[in-house]
């Protein structure tokens, strides 16, 4: 009996090493796996919060309306009524948070208009497209148009 054991005792030493390794692995694993892993699926639930907590750069039109209700009224019935503020005015969350400190620059009246209204074959035909050289001898758009109420009606 003792004679037999001696002949495979080296295998038991090997097995002991494997068992020890496995136990170590299990212990390390329980320590290292994040607590909230697996709550909703195979991922760390905290990642949902990480994704939610990013800073806002665009305020969203409802924030603009809070202070600039007059602008909203002036756009009523015009062609741009459904265009939201930041489409032309750029990201304004910083301004919405602290209006006096972050007074934004007004957009360039030519580039901001042309980025949408310059003619292109790929634009839907029914979308108003204007070639500034043909339309107004390359005069800047705000010579005749008010961006908030674009149909001719300046001054």
């Amino acid at each position: 009996m003792a004679h037999d054991f001696r002949d495979f005792e080296h295998l038991l030493r090997l097995a002991a090493i494997f068992v020890a390794g496995f136990v170590l692995f299990v212990v390390v694993r329980t320590i290292l796996v994040p607590d909230d892993f697996g709550e909703y699926g195979h991922y760390r639930a905290g990642a949902l919060d990480d994704n939610r907590q990013r800073p806002l750069r665009h305020a969203g039109m409802s924030a603009c309306v809070e202070c600039h209700d007059d602008v909203v009224k002036s756009r009523a019935g015009g062609g741009h009524e459904t265009v939201r503020c930041e489409a032309c005015h750029g990201p304004l969350a910083a301004h919405a948070d602290d209006p006096s400190a972050q007074a934004p620059e007004l957009p360039n009246p030519v580039t901001v208009c042309l980025k949408c209204h310059l003619p292109s074959m790929a634009k839907p035909a029914k979308f108003p497209q204007v070639d500034p050289s043909e339309h107004a001898d390359n005069e800047p758009c705000d010579t005749c148009h008010v961006a908030h109420a674009p149909k001719l009606g300046k001054g």
Binding site: G41, K115, P119, K123
Partner: protein, 255 residues
Amino acid sequence: MATDRRDFLINGGRALLVASASAAVALEHVLAGTPEHAPGYTMSEHWWAMTIDIDRCIGCGNCVRACKAENDVPREPFFFRTWVERYHLTADDVDRPVVDSPNGGFEGFKELYRPGDGSKNFYVPKLCNHCAHSPCVQVCPVGATFESPDGVVLVDTTYCLGCRYCVQACPYGCRFIDPRTHTVDKCTLCYHRITQGLTTACCEVCPTDARVLGDLKNPSDPIHAFLREHTIHVLKPQMATGAKVYYADLDGSVR
């Protein structure tokens, strides 16, 4: 030699005792601790999607610029969470559209084509389709990308290894590796905005409402009428990814 066996058993027993004690402590650690939830927003009440109306897209590039600003995306021409493609189909080669996307449409599109050449042209905005059966989520080896309970495919940037398998697995080319963090990045459907009642940055600035965020679980959301009233397509339907970006009036030549 008999002492060898005894020693082995004694030492083995000691090791086992220590191991089980540590395991018990660790288990307690695991069972405690749950994540915080955003107050006022319940994930199970939402199932996010987006609709894109090709007939309305004017290729202005507002969405591309707004996304890069909102989400701090690198400005180089290889990294886009959303981009716009322009398709040009000539009468004599219907199979091979000529497609371009100069810097993803960030500065808009220069006019390349002459009126009256008999071609068909249109713009196609692209973004992550937030697939319900996402192949990218399937292949992530560690669980660093996932579909949230409200239908948005997100990335855990603290967990991502940067192995790039998900980038390979996405049929739509919407993922990239952020060169600053060496982890994967992609459209998050502005998760930080939509969970606060705002819309995505791209939809916010779209002047023609070509892109509109939708909540399929909300019965009064206009997406339901939209899906009913338009001819709806998803990209690469044969891949059965469960894509949730629904295109209206999408031409068959779109890749």
